[in-house]
């Protein structure tokens, strides 16, 4: 018994020695560096982290400018009614405008299936965990919906008010949605997206009698973040307020068409 204990102490000593040996090696490496006289330098980089995304977004913008396709990037919390809005929009405008849709979700093709029944080109982008769409994802999936000339390309972003706001996808307008079952203070909580969006939509106004949502306060909060935002209040379910949205959309399509001759943009196929 006693002998056994002694042996284990010896073993420990051996380990210690090998650690020392390692340290010696390390020291000699340090000495080598000293001889070389390494130099510390501070260098200015000033390189935008979003540059790669923004360069591609600019290419996409030029591509759509040449084709006179109005492009919208729809952003909201999950469940604010982006897909319902698009369903109704396709139903009402499919005979007048050719609308293509790219729809982003973390998982499932459910939204693409819902939208495909209206006969428009629709492509689901499954991000497998990524919380937003980036320009390279749009570039990759664009050929699936860009059959012939589109009047409008609508990108339905992943349901999220934070991450998508920082990624330019080359769109003409960012459209943010806020439903009456959410708080009126969402614009104050997520100022980034409400500042960048040119259009803010208050959806599900048919539910106003059943909620404590204060429409005036919501509008004031949106204006306090961006006082030039176009605010539209509507219900996709009942159609209330929907004509104003369709007018807005068709007006922007006309403006895009009447732009002067655009330079030839890059191809994505």
């Amino acid at each position: 018994m006693k002998i056994g204990v002694k042996q284990s102490v010896m073993a420990k000593l051996d380990v210690k020695q090998s650690v020392m040996a390692k340290l010696d090696v390390k020291q000699s490496v340090m000495a080598k560096i000293d001889v070389k006289q390494s130099v510390m330098a501070k260098i200015d980089v000033k390189q935008s982290v979003m540059e790669a995304n923004n360069e591609l977004a600019a290419k996409l913008r030029a591509h759509w400018a040449e084709r006179r396709a109005l492009t919208l990037n729809m952003i909201s919390s999950p469940g604010s009614g982006k897909t319902a809005l698009l369903e109704k929009t396709l139903l009402r405008l499919r005979d007048r405008l050719k609308i293509g849709i790219l729809v982003g979700d973390v998982q499932t093709e459910n939204d693409a299936k819902r939208l495909a029944v209206y006969g428009s080109p629709v492509k689901q982008i499954i991000t497998s965990g990524t919380c937003h769409l980036e320009a390279h994802m749009i570039e990759k999936h664009l050929p699936f919906v860009e059959q012939g000339d589109l009047d409008v390309l609508i990108i339905e972003n992943v349901g999220n008010l934070i991450c998508p706001s920082s990624y330019d996808l080359g769109e003409d307008f960012k459209v943010v949605l806020l439903s009456t079952t959410e708080g009126e203070d969402k614009p104050l909580k997520y100022p980034g997206i409400f500042r960048r969006a040119q259009v803010a939509m208050i959806t599900k106004i048919d539910l106003l009698p059943y909620t404590d949502f204060d429409l005036d306060l919501a509008e004031r909060n949106i204006r306090s973040i961006h006082n030039e935002t176009d605010i539209l209040a509507l219900s996709s379910r009942t159609g209330e307020g929907f004509d104003r949205w369709l007018d807005w959309l068709q007006q922007r399509v006309q403006e895009k068409r009447s732009l002067g001759a655009a330079e030839k943009g890059p191809e994505f196929s």
Binding site: A41, V49, C131, H132, P191, R223, S224
Partner: protein, 128 residues
């Protein structure tokens, strides 16, 4: 969690810029983050510390995040308001007609690198 995508791009830029000046390793990197970019600093630093280990150049890099405050130029009176709050109004005339001129930055601003002496003689003009 867009911090992960952003951290990936930051590490890529730091490694690329470090290599372009023939650094042996990058000791420090400063990242400037605008208030409007909705980036959580601790989350970003956590992602950077995980991702930096993939490249020997950035393996020991210490990242620093500087916050760029919101800067608003008033369309009515021209005054520039600098604020840490998300109040989109001129602090002088109270007008809400303001242009955002700062707070949307997201850049790798500077690096501290370790280079060997050969590099100093050829490219650094003796700067220590």
């Amino acid at each position: 969690m867009h911090e992960l995508s952003i951290a990936q791009e930051i590490v890529r830029i730091v490694a690329k810029e470090g290599a372009s000046v023939h650094a042996v390793r990058v000791i420090g990197a400063s990242v400037s983050v605008g208030r409007l970019m909705a980036i959580e600093t601790d989350n970003l630093l956590f992602c950077l510390d995980v991702l930096k280990k993939n490249d020997p150049l950035t393996e020991h890099t210490v990242f620093m995040v500087e916050e760029e405050r919101l800067q608003l130029r008033c369309k009515a009176c021209g005054h520039v308001t600098v604020t840490g709050e998300f109040l989109f109004a001129c602090e002088v005339c109270r007008s809400q007609g303001v242009d955002v001129i700062g707070g949307e930055q997201l850049e790798v601003s500077c690096l501290e690198v370790e280079c060997d002496e050969d590099w100093r003689e050829t490219e650094c003009d003796g700067e220590a």
